[in-house]
Amino acid sequence: MPAADIDIQKVAKLSRLSLTTEEAAHYEKQLNGVLAYIDTLTAHDLGDVEPTAHAMPVFDVLRVDEERPGFTQEQCLSNAPKRAGDQFQIPKVIE
């Protein structure tokens, strides 16, 4: 089990969240508290137990490969914060 010492700014960047110094200190303290509680899981020997991803397991859900109705272009674009014609507009990605 890892030491529950979270590098909050690194995690924030992975989360695509920006935190002020005060926020970072606040969350770090709270999350370390929660992680310390979660460490109760380490007290149990779970080595050979099969993991459960879903309580009601269903596997290989397939559908017939045929044309079916989907969202229209207008539906998809209807909530775009910014659009240019029939496209989503975003800040420049490539310099």
Binding site: S15, R16, L17, Y37, I38, T40, L46, V49, M56
Partner: protein
């Protein structure tokens, strides 16, 4: 008397008899909302004009024909907002489609009417994490309604909705129903399509009814379930008539009391109310048996790994590109993501995204997520073993009655532990109901207590039968 105080069953009877019209019902609910929502804060928005149009077009021959149902604000209904009580969706999102459960409701004749407050993205147990307003408990306005479906429960218990839909990831239907004094049912995982329900923790989320009576919960559940090809976890199983057990006795029903759920730390008044309920069930012919769910103590820790981990992945979609809040001050793409998300999400959502991201980050997956999935197996096996001996399992829904607004602010761990009795049911994917079982007097005010009845996978019929027998005898 306002029709808003009625049950679905009562309204159906009067609609069929021609005494009232769907328009009358919508008008009475709109009036009730206008007079009481200022105090309760249960609804975030409601669109009476659309509801009246739909009421006039309603097919009264359908089982729920013309019955308005309040909707938690995390399910898409065409043309309506779907804010998830978050700033990130509040400004400019209008649902372009109906969720699978909403389509089923409409097929049954019901009208979705009104958007109900919740903890932001369903993360919380008090509705205090809503970024859009406070919801108050109809029994005591200084207290929380529970959560995350707090708006749904407050509206139903406060008689400003006939019935409502909630969603339950760790207790978010059952706990607010218990704290407000109404009925809340979480179906078996996979019963109800999650398509169009804004995802929190996909392996746990389930939509279900919040109602005034057990019979109404069965009536509403009849028009929510069924396989939906757009949710690969929705189950391809027969949908029974969930009212089949309503009115049947419970003689010989084997009821399990898990010793791990009757613990110190539960409010004395809650324990007393549940003890009285156990005696009542026994007097109705149920056979009470002590059972053990030995891995109960792992439940909350397991949940607070799985749910934030899944949430951190699900909420990655809020990137300010296709929908939702976009920061106006970003100059490059990274800044666009950072600012849009940081401005849009509230503190509890950020806390869980950070926690989930950490636990899924390189080097930590085996220690947290995989470990929690293994613990989940043990918790599920406990229930499988217990259900070889009993038909249903009962417990308090929540260890305490509704707390005061602000009481658990900034103590996330204490708030997380409120869900100790409801979380294992989600982890095991089982159906569970909360039904009112008396009250406890705190500071001179009577606060409701809920009895949780847990069933075998897909055995909602027995859960509803037991709940109804108890409700009628109480």
């Amino acid at each position: 008397m306002s029709l808003a105080t009625s049950t679905i069953a009562q309204l159906r009877q009067r609609l069929t008899a021609g005494e009232i019209t769907p328009r009358d019902i919508v008008q009475d609910i709109a009036k009730a909302i206008e007079s009481r929502n200022g105090e309760l804060g249960a609804y975030l928005s409601f669109d009476t004009e659309t509801a009246l149009k739909e009421a006039d077009a309603a097919d009264k021959s359908l089982p729920l024909g013309g019955i308005p149902i309040g909707i938690k604000d995390n399910m898409n209904v065409t043309g309506q907002p779907c804010t998830c009580a978050s700033k990130i969706l509040a400004e400019n999102y209008t649902a372009p489609y109906d969720a699978g459960a909403i389509q089923k409701l409409r097929q049954g004749g019901a009208l979705p009417f009104g958007r109900l407050n919740m903890d932001e993205f369903a993360m919380g147990s008090s509705t205090e994490n809503s970024a859009l307003g406070i919801t108050r408990n109809p029994c005591d306005a200084s207290r929380v309604p529970g959560g995350s479906s707090g708006g749904s429960a407050a509206a139903v218990a406060g008689d400003i909705a006939i019935a409502a839909l909630g969603s339950d990831t760790g207790g978010s239907i059952r706990q607010p129903a218990a704290l407000c004094g109404c009925v809340g049912l979480k179906p078996t995982y996979g019963r109800v399509s999650r398509f169009g329900l804004v995802a929190f923790a996909s392996s746990l989320d389930q939509i279900g009814p919040i109602t005034k009576t057990v019979e109404d919960a069965a009536l509403l559940l009849n028009h929510l379930c069924g396989k939906d090809g757009r949710d690969s976890t929705s189950l391809d199983v027969e949908v029974p008539d969930f009212t089949a057990g309503i009115g049947k006795d419970i003689k010989g029903l084997r009821v399990g009391l898990p010793k791990e759920y009757f613990i110190d730390g539960t409010h004395a008044g809650v324990s007393a109310a549940v003890d009285a309920a156990i005696k009542k069930l026994e007097s109705l012919g149920a056979i009470i048996e002590q059972i053990s769910l030995p891995h109960t103590e792992l439940g909350v820790a397991t949940y607070y790994v799985l749910a934030p981990a899944e949430a951190s992945a699900n909420l990655a979609r809020f990137d300010g590109v296709r929908y939702g809040h976009r920061s106006s001050s970003a100059t490059d793409l990274m800044e666009h993501y950072l600012k849009s998300r940081s401005e849009g999400f509230g503190p509890e959502v950020k806390r869980r995204i950070l926690l989930g991201t950490y636990m899924l980050s390189s080097g930590y997956y085996d220690a947290y997520y995989l470990r929690a999935q293994k613990a989940r197996t043990l918790i599920r096996n406990d229930f499988t073993e217990a259900f070889s001996k009993v038909d249903v399992i009962i417990s308090p829904t929540s260890p305490a009655p509704a707390h005061k607004l602000g009481e658990l602010k900034d103590n996330p761990l204490a708030a997380y532990l409120e869900d100790v009795f409801t979380i294992p049911v989600n982890l095991a994917g089982l159906p569970g109901i909360s039904v009112p079982c008396g009250d406890v007097e705190v500071d001179g005010v009577k606060l409701p207590v809920g009895l949780q009845i847990i069933g075998k996978p897909l055995d909602e019929v027995t859960v509803l039968r037991a709940a109804h027998a108890y409700e009628q005898a109480r």
